[in-house]
Amino acid sequence: MREGRPAAFYALAALFALFVLFLYGPMITIVLLSFQGPEGGLTFPLHGVSTHWFRKLWNDGLPNVDIWSAFARSAWLGLVVMVLTVVLSLLAGLAYRKRFAGSDALFYVVVASLIVPSIVVSLGIGLEFRLVDDAVKKHAPAFLSDGYDTAMGLFSSALGAHLTWTLPFGLLIMFAIFNRFDPRYEEAARDLGATPWQTLWHVVLPIIGPSVVGVGLFGFTLSWDEIARTSQAIGYHNTLPLELQGQTTTVTTPVIYALGTLTTAVSFAVIAVALTAMLTLRRRQARLGSAAGKGLL
């Protein structure tokens, strides 16, 4: 390329800096405001520095909402969604390296799931479960319908709703991973007599491991703050973001910022764990992988 920076570079760099400020500025604001003293309000200026609002959140929660149950529900759901997203995407990713009947149709369905508005998907799942509920109440034998209320819930309808959102990301990432994967490693393993399971466990997974962690990161974080797809498919007990959404106009103290800081901290912790795991796995690869073949050359 040509020598020196063109003038456009400085203009674009300035725009980029502004964009980053636009991205992070508001987040930093509420973190600052959540550490105010007891007489702090929803806006600047800051009134002292303390952990008052975090203590208040810990002791009292939010008015009218059992925030800690919602917190636990979201965390559990996020973990289950993460595990299922990793396992199902990995399996399907392996399947797509070969041919199978209906692979094109399945691919279009997965992409469509990413594109169809979330409210439509959510409404559909809600309707599906209501129709099932009605059918069970009307037609099922007494031992089933007695005391039956609804099949909707955190680990049925809400879990399904979350998976329709996380799996497309997972599968697309898997495609990217396997596009770069060198199949000769597998062939070498097979030639040495490894079974398919041994090949997967000792060869494929250690190589793609860091990227699979990335799929898990998407699985948890997308589930952790999902609202639109969950909204009509949740049943009685809301997840944390759904509760938060309802509280935005009713809570008028910095306690809502404290909760915001806390959930953002959870997100950042998850991102940090994922990135650390990726780096550790990469380093392990470099350490264990580098010796192979050296003696031959």
């Binding site: 456009a8 806006t43 399996l91 594109i115 559909g124 597998e186 009509q232």
Partner: protein, 300 residues
């Protein structure tokens, strides 16, 4: 050995894809079919009744034609809601496209080291992994009546008194959308740009093209697949949204998604399903229009 060797040993491919296919059948395909079906059902105060009727579609747009064609033409509520949604959607699309393209262009062509590129790209991506609602709430201390922006406006004398339309308004909704979803433009456009052969830019330069000519004749055409994919993301998310419009609009602005959400809350399932079908159709028309601009399959 060929790929065939893999198929002969181990688990067959269809069995590996089955769990994923099952999830999408149960939680995506069947629900969509049921939505179309229920949109044709009848209902009364107590229950929904299997039927084939156009009632829900008819009632959704009831009186719209009369009012439009009357002596003093006006829009009915439903049409107004659809138009508001479409207006917000197009505004957000234009802003995120311009901003996302510029950011991606900077990252792809002006940042020269791969490490710096990855780090800057990660900086753009990290907020995507944090909570959307929190990111919306975090605008309150900035845009509120006594927020930072108003404090700045009043102290500098740009405004005599605090400006009211910053929060809980169309403006706030659009700011939040741009804040949340510009990333959906940056990622695919950046991806397309990274595939552009740098020799083409050199060739354009050597042939005497100005920076703008290179941009419009080389970069933009080659970045089109990314532009279209990003646009599809942003348009479909904004068209169906009810959370951002609700929170940032102070629950005062109507959108199609909010209308559906409200009807579901009132247990009016068939009308909600009818609106969902109309919404889905509108989104598909938008996507169809976009893919007319560029043949994605040819470009890939």
């Amino acid at each position: 050995m060929t790929a065939k060797g893999i198929t002969e040993r181990g688990v067959p491919a269809w069995a590996q894809a089955l769990p994923l296919a099952g999830v999408f059948a149960l939680f995506f395909v069947v629900p969509l079919v049921l939505t179309v079906m229920v949109s044709l059902w009848n209902y009364n105060a107590y229950e929904i009744v299997p039927d084939i009727t156009a009632r829900n579609y008819w009632e959704a747009f009831e009186g719209c034609a009369n009012r439009l064609l009357s002596a003093t033409p006006e829009l009915c509520t439903t049409l107004k809601t659809y138009l508001t949604t479409l207006r917000i959607c197009l505004t957000v699309w234009l802003i995120t496209l311009a901003l996302g393209f510029t950011i991606a262009y900077f990252l792809a062509f002006h940042v020269r080291s791969l490490t710096v590129q990855i780090v800057l790209f990660l900086i753009c991506t990290i907020p995507f992994w944090t909570s959307n609602v929190i990111r919306m709430i975090s605008w309150i201390p900035l845009l509120g009546r006594n927020g930072l922006v108003n404090q700045a406006l009043v102290t500098t004398g740009l405004a005599g008194e605090p400006v009211e339309w910053l929060l809980f308004s169309d403006f706030a909704v659009i700011v939040a959308f741009v804040h949340l979803y510009t990333l959906f433009m940056i990622v695919p456009i950046f991806n397309s740009m990274m595939r552009i052969d740098r020799a083409l830019l050199e060739a354009a330069y050597d042939a005497g093209a100005s920076g703008w000519q290179t941009l419009s004749n080389v970069v933009i055409p080659l970045a089109k697949p990314g532009i279209v994919i990003g646009s599809i993301f942003v348009l479909t998310i904004v068209m169906g949204d009810f959370v951002t419009v609700g929170v940032m609009g102070g629950q005062q602005i109507a959108s199609v998604g909010k209308m559906i959400n409200t009807q579901m809350g009132n247990l009016q399932f068939p009308p909600a399903a009818a609106h969902a079908v109309v919404l889905l159709a509108s989104v598909l028309v938008l996507i169809w229009g976009l893919t007319r601009l560029v043949d994605i399959r040819k470009e890939l």
